[in-house]
Amino acid sequence: MIRFGLRLSTRGGKESLVRLVVMALAVSVGVAMLLLTMATINGLGTQNSRGAWMATSPRFGNGQPNFAGRGTPPTATNSHTIWWLVTSSQFENQLIVRVDTAPVGAHPVVPPGIPQLPGPGEFYSSPALSALLKSTPSSELGDRFGGRQIGLIANSALPSPNDLVIVLGQSARTLSAANGAGKINSFVKTSNNGGPDTAGTTGLQIILGVLSLVLLFPVLIFVGSAMRLSAARREQRFAAIRLAGATMRQVAVVATIEALVAAIAGVVIGFGLYFLTVPALVHVPFTGHPLQAGDLRIGLFDVLVVLIGVPFAAAVAARIALRRVQVSPLGVSRRVTPRPPRWYRVIPLLAGIAELAYFESVRRPTSSGAQTEAYLLGFFLIMLGLVLAGPWLTMAGSKALAKRTSRVSALLAGRRLSDNPRGSFRAVSGLILAIFVTSVSVGVISTILADHGTTSTGSLASKTVVDQFAFSFTGDIRHLPTSLESSLRSIRGVTGETTIYVAPTGMSSDGPVPDVNGLGGDIQYGVATCASLATTPALGKCQPGATYAKLGDDIAFVQLTKSVTATASTVWPSAQLATDPSGLPVQVIAVATDGSTAVINRVETTLDRAFPYNTSASLFGEVNAQSSQLLSELETSSEVVILASLLIAGCSLTIAMAAGISERRRPFSLLRLSGVPLGVLQRMVALETAGPLLVISLVSALTGLVASDLFLRSQLGLTLRPPSPVYYLIVLGGLVGALAIMASTLPLLDRVTRPEDARTE
């Protein structure tokens, strides 16, 4: 029977050969997409691991990172030990990772990508930073670092070729005095080591992993759809085999062999397609940072999973499909009329939304652990609910359409969909999760980014540079370098400077201090002279006649999820201070400029040079640039996943569409023969395939945005902001692409239903 099955598959005439080739090609496209998704997951992992060394953090006896001397110094100093400090600098909205090192032992460890530790006054830089240093006046960039470049950091140590990284050599004495510096003996090899996330990669890999896994659903659905191609025609032939005396068991063997032959051929061609297309994938900006050639690889495990898994799944699917139908010698019939999906399938979806709404309107769990569990449960319920409710929604929608319409195409499409809502939904079921997850991601991210507030060019905030100290754990800076003020004043274009000091405990004011970030909590107040504050209007102003102003420490409050700044209209209360505050610890230095890029760069360079190990000086309006960049990368990834999943769903639907046309070629031919215009049939086929795609995309995107709104309201106190136009363009582009792929099948309808061919059926 196996030999018979093989012969039937490969030498069963033109029709069976065409069927085999089409199935194999469809499977090959699915396999190639599966491999590309796996390669992407691996590539993002490789990319992150390559930059993991920058996340190496000095650890202390209590296991906590070293911040301002909190913790116990390590005892294990050996010949490999070095001093180590990773900070960052901001240059025209780009993040520069700065690594300061100094040898301790005789054989110091050397970071990846450079041949040796740079000596004091020397540095290695990434190729992109090297080019930037050469093309930018040193007063605007190079002076931040000083020293002499002695080489380039190899790309093998950079997540992306365009990353800006510098490794500076210092003397052990200098670096040991820097707050935040510590000793290390080795480098971490994965980014999730719990250290400070200077490179901005911690957590990104996990989220990207989730996004990539989400992409697997539509791909697997596509492979499954490919295996169901021409199922009806095959089943009819099985009936003929039964008529010739074959048992059901023998028919099952034939079906399995046929599926295996197509799947194995598809896997082989799929690997070929993968190797042809993988070089182009390097250029896809998954995170905004391009991958490097060679990042996209598949491992032996991946290869084995596809090589064995796809044919095995195909064989199992063929057996299951055969069990759903009764193949008798007289023909094929559905074994049982499937029960229509019931309304209670929407319960989990409603429960998930209700849970998030409860947190939003009533109360949310107090501990962060309970919050995580509660939100995960809510999102899981919604995802499960979408998958369960999908067939019911398909049936309800299509029934309503068929019941009311007077258009033949809508009537036919509606009846077809309501007849088999599970089958109709299956082709887009992978899409629903992908669109939901990415819409939640885009909704949350775009709201956070909008809340961060980007300042328009020319506004006060985009002309004022701030250097904050309180948040960088650099401890007390009681005496600013004497040259700093004169250096700043000497820059043409600087219009004012304010130093905010840490307010003494118990300092009173004649009114409450505005709570800029709206979160309340412990506030470390600041104090500044009104004379200086008047020169930096972006920070707000004093009450009329006041000498000192009492400020909140949240004039530039920055978190990943929420960043706010004071505005020019903020009025700070008068502080009751007996003496000049200049002897107090410094909290913030703010410098007002004329807004020109060169002046801003020079001010930032001057401040960074004065406080090299402190958090980078940056524009007041862009204090959130680093977190914004990370979020933007995630948003880009989400949009790539949306686009890819829509296109893949388009491919799945194309197969479903082709199968649907093939199954109904006789009634369609006879309808055309009776004068039914081809356009009616085309509209019908387009409706029954594009309809679910559009509706499901809309439902899952809306559900995702609603869920993200509830999450934002309850967890972050924010209201959902509309995603950027790019999101709409991506969704629209993906839908148009998917529809275009599906439209490619329409000529098939014309070919297989020509009235003159109906007589040969």
Binding site: S406, V408, L411, R415, D419, L670, S674, G675, P755, R759
Partner: protein, 240 residues
């Protein structure tokens, strides 16, 4: 019945449709060779002949499904074989009805929706189309089956539904290609009786392709297609 020698004497009086010297081939295989036939308004014409003789091809040429290589097809005196495809489609939709051997019902639609299809295509509102479709169920003795799908109908029931669909829009000509070919003789006779009586009531001309003399006996007149040529038989006595 006695065989009349070709060429057929065409009486142009009351002629609704005619084929003149029609030739058609499928590649190297000739199907029709100078086939000529005329059909009077309101008559039931049986086209008989053995398998492969070209009778279905003749029906398809008459109905504008196939375009003859040579010769002409006229409806009410006007040539229709020169119409472009979309006009021939419109003609089939508006002036012709069809009944085939099997498989013409759309499986997803209920019986009444299947019958209403030509009316919906003609732009009638849904409710009105369904009301008019339901009238045919009683007329053809299949009341109660309106909501059933084609898979839930017997062969005879399905053919009666197909017949209702073919006649619901009151076509000028009903083309029936082996309408009883998949039915037992008793059911076949019932379907034929209904077909002929309904057509006569509505004044619809019927072109009936069959190879069964018993079916052809319901026609007013019979022609025989053999080797792509048409011969005429004497007129039948009215079917009982």
């Amino acid at each position: 019945m006695s065989l009349v020698t070709t060429p057929i004497n065409i009486d142009t009086k009351d002629v609704l449709m005619e084929a003149r010297d029609v030739e058609f081939d499928f590649g190297q295989t000739p199907a029709l060779r100078k086939a000529s036939v005329s059909i009077r308004e309101g008559e039931v014409l049986a086209v008989m002949g053995p398998s492969g003789s070209g009778k279905s091809t003749l029906l398809h040429c008459l109905a504008g499904i196939l375009v003859p290589k040579h010769g002409e097809i006229r409806l009410s005196g006007e040539r229709i074989d020169t119409y472009p495809e979309h006009e021939r489609s419109a003609l089939r939709r508006e002036k012709f009805g069809f009944v085939f051997q099997f498989g013409q019902l759309v499986p997803e639609l209920s019986a009444e929706e299947n019958v209403a299809l030509p009316l919906l295509l003609g732009g009638l509102r849904r409710n009105e189309a369904l009301v008019r479709a339901r009238e045919w169920f009683e007329r053809l003795g299949i009341e109660g089956l309106e909501r059933r799908r084609s898979g839930e109908l017997s062969g005879g029931q399905a053919q009666r539904v197909a017949l209702a669909r073919g006649l619901v829009a009151h076509p000028k000509v009903l083309f029936a290609d082996e309408p009883t070919g998949s039915l037992d003789s008793l059911t076949g006779e019932l379907v034929m009786e209904l077909l002929v009586s309904a057509a006569r009531e509505d004044g619809t001309t019927v072109v009936l392709v069959t190879h069964e003399p018993r079916v052809a006996a319901y026609a007013d007149r019979e022609v025989i297609v053999r080797d792509g040529q048409v011969s005429s038989l004497a007129a039948n006595s009215p079917a009982s």
